[in-house]
């Protein structure tokens, strides 16, 4: 009798607990960790594709005059760089982190909808590949900027319908990912894991998922209207038929502004997860961080026209969007003060994830300052569409979102692989990145204020010096990221050889559940719910 039960258990283990063998494992997987890995690897690859495009841009801008590329290809590069980085690198990277970490952080065995999870990943790959294929089509890839403003975007060649279809696919993929995150968080939390006990990364992703569900259909609608304007004789955006090109901008930015917060809210979540661990203190204001995230998400829906101050808004519109935009500074300030207060009187150590997180707080705040400057509508009549805005949003994306993604990589790699990364090379990667990113983007503030418009392939000679400095920074930054690839591969293959504990970081298990499972995390975790929920942030 006993023997029969044991045999049954063995069989069960074999059938259920291991991944498929070979390549098929990755294609048909429904395991949240496998899908998380797929997302992260894909995002890293796209980070280098988008980065290569950025280096083509910076090479052309190294000196005045046109040296390497045709202006139209240059415009394609600025467009594709943005689309690839936003939809191919940063968003998928955070979805990857969500897949890996959310179930482990809330004590769930997997995502709520595992098959849809697989589908949303492969749809993303298809969407990005379709987008990339437009580079080889007659007339070139879209060259109207990532905002795809009409009427200019309607001048795109053969690539136009393909680009729009790829946007649809990316949108569907994002919506499926978002539904999965919401379903998981609402239904799969371990007993005792109340909403206000969830780690902030989970909270920020919950709010981000709602943003995604609200905005992706809007974007899909906007590009579909472009499609019918081009092929089916509608005139949504054509004045000659009673439409208005500025209508597109309103619809786009109703999507676009929350979209940029889709890339920054999970960033806040990771930073709020990492800083307390290395400060050895609870997060200063857990509840106010949750409310601030909610407030930022709400505000993101009612400020869209601050991207359009010079488009010819009525004065009431200018004033309303200026005041509403200025308000964002308050919850954002709360966040920055919170991180600072969390470090205050802590017992800090400075491993690579902490270094990246501190750099994030400082450099993101600088991006916030320029954001505040541009919220002031009348002065935006000078800043708008210059390198000043280029500097602003790159500060809020590169040393913010991208730095935090790197921090997340270093923070959780030991948990994912069971091996420790090489701290020396990690720190080298950090210092090279932190210094070069400022050489790259800080001079762009000067260029913008001095009068250099964005999206131009060639410029007047008084802009030459800072462009050259910026390009040098770009190359240092770009090539230092190869160190990260080296570290990831090295860590997967054994890293320093040191066997990491379940907790990895000192007292990390007080902060979040993922540090209570073995390192590397087994293929299935929390098949039975955890008994104890960390409550330290209370």
């Amino acid at each position: 009798m006993t023997a029969v039960v044991a045999e049954h258990d063995d069989h069960h283990d074999h059938h259920d607990h291991g991944p498929e063998k070979g390549i098929l494992r990755w294609i048909i997987t429904t395991n949240h960790k496998d899908i998380g890995t797929l997302y992260l690897v894909f995002a890293l690859a796209m980070f280098f594709v988008g980065g290569t495009m950025a280096l083509i841009i910076r090479s052309e801008l190294f000196e005045p005059g046109l040296q390497f590329v045709d202006p139209n290809f240059f415009n394609s590069m600025t467009t594709m760089h943005a689309l690839v980085m936003v939809f191919g690198a940063v968003m998928p990277a955070f979805v990857g982190l969500a897949n890996w970490m959310i179930p482990m952080m809330i004590g769930a065995p997997d995502m709520a909808l595992p098959r849809m999870n697989n589908m949303s990943f492969w749809m993303l790959v298809a969407g990005v590949l379709l987008l990339a294929s437009t580079l080889f089509m007659e007339g070139g890839a879209p060259a109207a900027g990532w905002t795809l403003y009409p009427p200019l975007v309607l001048q795109t060649g053969k690539a136009f319908p393909f680009a729009i279809f790829s946007v649809h696919m990316l949108g569907i993929s994002s919506i499926m990912g978002a539904i999965n995150v919401i379903a998981t968080i609402f239904n799969m939390r371990a007993p005792g894991m109340t909403l206000m006990k969830m780690p902030l990364f989970v909270w920020t992703w919950l709010i981000t998922a709602f943003l995604l569900i609200a905005i992706m259909p809007v974007f899909a609608g906007a590009v579909t209207m472009l499609l019918t304007d081009k092929f089916f004789d509608t005139s949504f955006f054509d004045a000659a038929g009673g439409g208005d090109p500025v209508l597109y901008q309103h619809i786009f930015w109703f999507f676009g502004h929350p979209e940029v917060y889709v890339m920054i809210l999970p960033t806040f979540g990771v930073a709020s997860t990492i800083i307390p661990v290395f400060a050895r203190k609870p997060l200063f204001g857990y509840a106010s961080m949750v409310y601030a995230t909610g407030a930022i998400a709400f505000l993101s829906f009612i400020v869209w026209s601050h991207h359009m101050f010079t488009v010819g808004l009525p004065i009431a519109g200018e004033l309303y969007f200026m005041y509403a935009t200025m308000l964002i500074a308050i919850p954002t300030g709360v966040k920055v003060f919170n991180w600072t207060a969390t470090m205050w009187k802590g017992s800090m150590t400075f491993e690579t994830p902490m270094l990246f997180s501190i750099a994030f707080v400082v450099l993101f705040t600088m991006g916030g300052f320029t954001g505040l400057m541009m919220s002031v509508a009348p002065v935006d009549f000078q800043y708008h569409d210059t390198y000043f805005i280029v500097a602003h949003f790159h500060y809020t994306l590169v040393p913010a979102s991208v730095f935090i993604l790197m921090a997340a990589g270093y923070f959780w790699l030991p948990k994912w692989t069971g091996n420790m990364y090489n701290e020396k090379i990690g720190k080298l990667h950090f210092w090279l990145s932190a210094i070069s990113v400022n050489i790259l983007f800080f001079p762009q503030h000067f260029l913008g204020l001095a009068g250099m418009p964005r999206r131009i392939p060639d410029y007047a000679v008084q802009f030459a010096d800072w462009n050259m400095v910026s390009s040098i920074g770009a190359f240092i930054y770009g090539f230092s990221q190869l160190l990260f690839v080296y570290i990831v591969i090295d860590t997967i293959r054994g890293g320093t050889g040191e066997k990491v504990s379940d907790e990895v970081w000192e007292d990390a298990s007080k902060h979040s559940l993922e540090w209570t499972v073995p390192s590397p995390a087994p293929y299935h975790t929390f098949t039975t719910p955890p008994e104890k929920i960390p409550t330290e942030h209370f």
Partner: protein, 376 residues
């Protein structure tokens, strides 16, 4: 060698954080030459200093903490968190600062909007890729293209941009305005969205096809002020600068008279030598055709057809004249090109070595018979 020198100069420049060989080198926003632009500059500086001050406070606290509260110094972590008083304070103080910023900002928004009671109006139309200016009060109307020197240099990569004065910031016909007069601008566009920006005037304004936007200026100081298109408008977005020359009233009046005289003058249709036709033809080509058909006449495959070896260009001359005047769905109709310029252009495109064509003929201005009736 030049590049090596520049490369070497870079770290030095970075270390100094200032200084350059260029006289008009700048790190900050211009104060501009209008009351409005000065108001915006002051607002810009005010907010920048507020940001600097907050930055010093926040980063100062953070770095103090990073230096003192570290484990390697044996600092023990305190476990405090959640303090309602502190959280209310750090919500209220920023709110007050924002209110303080919003007051002068609101005043500036109102000032920007004050387009009424202007003394003259200029209609500005953005086109791919030049500006079209129409003085609504006196009928002056002209196009303003990138100047020939910049046009040549940016299209031929071996030429040095530094050899051209005001590279990419110069035009063939600048916009001329009087000082100390309230001028209203009306913006629209013919094809895609453009944006008209002169930093010294303090603002930019989008030119939207099918709609009219307004803005105003009152220039205090005579001078030449340069800007660019700031809304991505296609391939040559970077090559449609704005130049505004502000003059004293009497000089401006003289300019208006001279310009009107020239505008109303019938074009000179007398015969020209072949060299003269070719030389003028190149200018006409650089202004009207080069953006699409390119300096070497190769066009852009998939976008714009080549003129080099084109049967249309080198074939029947009458058909070519009709084609240029009528335009196509993609090419604008050049009906307004006067006969002398059309003759020069046609002679040039059929025979220019730069375009690889050599038909060996020419056409004189008086031989151009109207192939297109404007009333049609």
């Amino acid at each position: 060698m030049k590049k090596t020198k520049q490369l070497l100069a870079c770290p030095v420049l970075m270390a100094l954080g200032l200084g350059s060989a260029h006289a008009d080198y700048t790190l900050n926003l211009t104060k501009g030459v209008t009351q409005l632009s000065n108001e915006l500059y002051d607002l810009h500086m005010l907010i920048m200093w507020i940001c600097v001050f907050i930055g010093i406070a926040v980063f100062g606290t953070m770095f103090y903490s990073i230096y003192h509260h570290r484990k390697s110094k044996g600092h023990q972590a305190e476990q405090f968190h959640e303090n309602t008083t502190v959280e209310i304070i750090w919500t209220i103080i920023p709110t007050l600062i924002l209110v303080g910023m919003a007051i002068p900002a609101t005043k500036a928004v109102v000032d920007l909007d004050r387009t009424q009671e202007s003394e003259m109006s200029i209609k500005v139309t953005g086109k791919q890729w030049y500006w079209d200016y129409e003085y609504l009060d006196n009928g002056i109307h002209f196009e303003s293209h990138l100047d020939e020197a910049s046009e040549r240099v940016h299209r031929v990569s071996s030429m040095d941009p530094r050899s051209v004065p005001n590279y990419l910031l110069n035009v063939d016909k600048p916009l001329v305005v009087p000082v100390k007069k309230k001028i209203r601008f009306l913006f629209t566009a013919a094809d895609v969205i453009h944006s008209w920006w002169v930093p010294e005037l303090g603002w930019k304004k989008d030119a939207n096809p099918g709609f009219v936007n307004e803005a105003w200026t009152y220039v205090d100081k005579p001078g030449t002020y340069r800007g660019q298109c700031t809304e991505l408008c296609g391939r040559d977005h970077g090559f449609m600068p704005v130049v505004v020359i502000a003059m004293e009233q009497d000089q401006y009046d003289a300019w208006v008279k001279a310009t009107l005289d020239k505008q109303n003058q019938a074009p000179d249709l007398s015969d020209q030598t072949r060299n003269s036709l070719m030389a003028h033809g190149e200018s006409v080509y650089l202004k009207n055709c080069v953006a699409c058909h390119q300096i070497d006449g190769n066009g852009i495959p998939g976008w714009f057809p080549a003129l080099r070896g084109s049967a249309k260009v080198t074939g029947n001359m009458d058909q070519l004249i009709g084609f240029i005047q009528a335009g196509t769905s993609k090419m604008p109709a050049f009906r307004k090109l006067p006969d002398n310029e059309l003759a020069e252009l046609i002679t040039y495109i059929r025979n220019a070595p730069a375009l690889g064509n050599n038909v060996g003929d020419e056409i004189q201005p008086n031989k151009i018979t109207p192939k297109w009736d404007d009333d049609e």
